[in-house]
């Protein structure tokens, strides 16, 4: 039970951390100033969520580690973030299509997690719901705009979807930690979200004229800390300063 709660919280924290790190790569490189600010703000919200979750995970682990230790002193085989979060940003269309898939899931997920019997998780979730509402409106509006813009914007959006879709199945994967915690009223039953998510995402794709690519299989691995080739590079960049100066204070 205790281990399951640690594993579960760590997985949610890692997913938020790596997504925020990826999105923050756009800081200073956004397509125009307002978008640069928007995506930086969104990344910041998600970093904040990661901090809350990793802080709680560290507490549940009970080995005296802090959220910073978890973020900066683990290697890729100890990270449990969803594979979709570590995929390269690509162009803005790809970043937005990935974000819309995640925002749609996250709003459903955190709305349910806000009802968790674990009050810390419920608190972090209820806070996040308000923020994700804004994130989703932002990413959905860009998907519709790109999908109905020019031939170029549409083809880039479709290309982005083709590249990212195989990573969407993992959103709904559950293991024994989920099942243990669902029994306790702590975790969210992901099966219960799937239909709503599919409806909403299909409605969005229709508005953007997108076709869901045919995939032979959905990518998996993050539940066992098996990652694509991209995570190592993200960690190398994110962790280099704390690892170079492990006791630095400022």
């Amino acid at each position: 039970m205790k281990d399951s709660l640690y594993n579960y919280t760590l997985r949610l924290g890692d997913t938020s951390l790596i997504l925020a790190q990826r999105l923050s790569e756009w800081t200073g490189h956004g397509p125009f100033l307002e978008e640069d600010l928007a995506l930086t703000n969104i990344a910041l919200d998600i970093f904040g969520r990661a901090k809350g979750l990793l802080e709680y995970a560290a507490k549940k682990e009970g080995k005296g580690r802090t959220e910073d230790d978890l973020a900066f002193f683990r290697s890729d085989r100890e990270f449990f973030n969803l594979l979709i979060t570590e995929q390269p940003n690509g162009d803005y269309a790809k970043t937005m299509i990935r974000q819309s898939i995640i925002d749609c899931f996250d709003l459903l997920f955190y709305t349910e997690l806000a009802k968790s019997k674990d009050l810390t998780l419920a608190g972090i979730a209820s806070k996040s719901v308000k923020e994700i509402t804004y994130h989703k409106r932002h990413s959905f509006s860009w998907v519709v705009r790109f999908g109905n813009g020019t031939e170029e914007s549409f083809s880039r959006l479709q290309k982005g979807l083709n590249e990212i879709w195989a990573y969407s199945g993992e959103l709904f994967e559950m293991n024994e930690d989920d099942h243990n915690l669902i029994k306790e009223g702590i975790a969210v039953d992901l099966d219960s979200l799937k239909q709503k998510w599919e409806l909403e995402i299909k409605e969005l794709f229709e508005k953007a004229n997108l076709v869901i690519p045919e995939t032979l299989f959905m990518q998996q691995g993050s539940r066992k800390a098996l990652h694509s080739e991209y995570l190592g590079y993200i960690l190398a960049e994110m962790q280099s300063i704390p690892r170079m100066h492990p006791n630095a204070k400022w």
């Binding site: 978008e35 600010l37 930086t40 990344a43 904040g48 969520r49 809350g52 209820s126 719901v129």
Partner: protein, 161 residues
């Protein structure tokens, strides 16, 4: 020894690090204060999960309290109930407006912010309602960016959450 009310009054002297015209108490982020002898615990909630001003607020609270005779100071971050713009007092909203930031115009209970069907925001400078949203995400996480079509000034709007 200080009472809870006195401590709230003390903390009311601390300006918000990013919007110095209102205090952190007016902002509504100080949720509870527990005092036992010289020991004090302050419960703070973030406006947004990633609000970068949190650390500054905690440091300011500690400084203010230690200057006023508290030796054992604990600050605890809480997430529930989640901060809402409904906690901004009318007085605080007026201060925001005079500072050039349009205050939130709805309460979260009317839910119009969810559907994005909000009425036009009033320009804090010329009070015109002929304004347009430039970006949902402004200079800080808690603000959106608007422009007034009459005086042409861009201004921040305190988002309703």
């Amino acid at each position: 020894m200080h009472t809870k009310e006195e401590v709230f009054a003390l903390l009311s002297e601390i300006p918000d690090p990013e919007i110095p015209v209102i205090s952190i108490v007016e902002l509504g982020v100080i949720r509870e204060i527990l005092i036992e002898g010289t020991h004090i615990e302050v419960f703070i909630t973030p406006t947004y999960s990633g609000c970068p001003a949190m650390k500054q607020m905690e440091d300011d609270v500690r400084k203010k309290l230690s200057e006023n005779g508290f030796n054992e100071i604990k600050s605890t971050i809480i997430y529930s109930p989640a901060w809402t713009t409904d906690w901004l007092s009318e007085e605080a909203k007026l201060k925001l407006q005079n500072y050039g930031i349009a205050p939130p115009e709805e309460t979260t209970s009317d839910k119009s912010f969810l559907t994005n069907s909000k009425k036009n925001i009033t320009c804090p400078r010329c009070k015109n309602k002929n304004t347009v949203m430039i970006s949902q995400f402004g200079s800080t996480a808690c603000k959106a960016l608007y422009q007034c079509k009459e005086c042409l000034e861009a201004f921040d709007y305190f988002k309703c959450i």
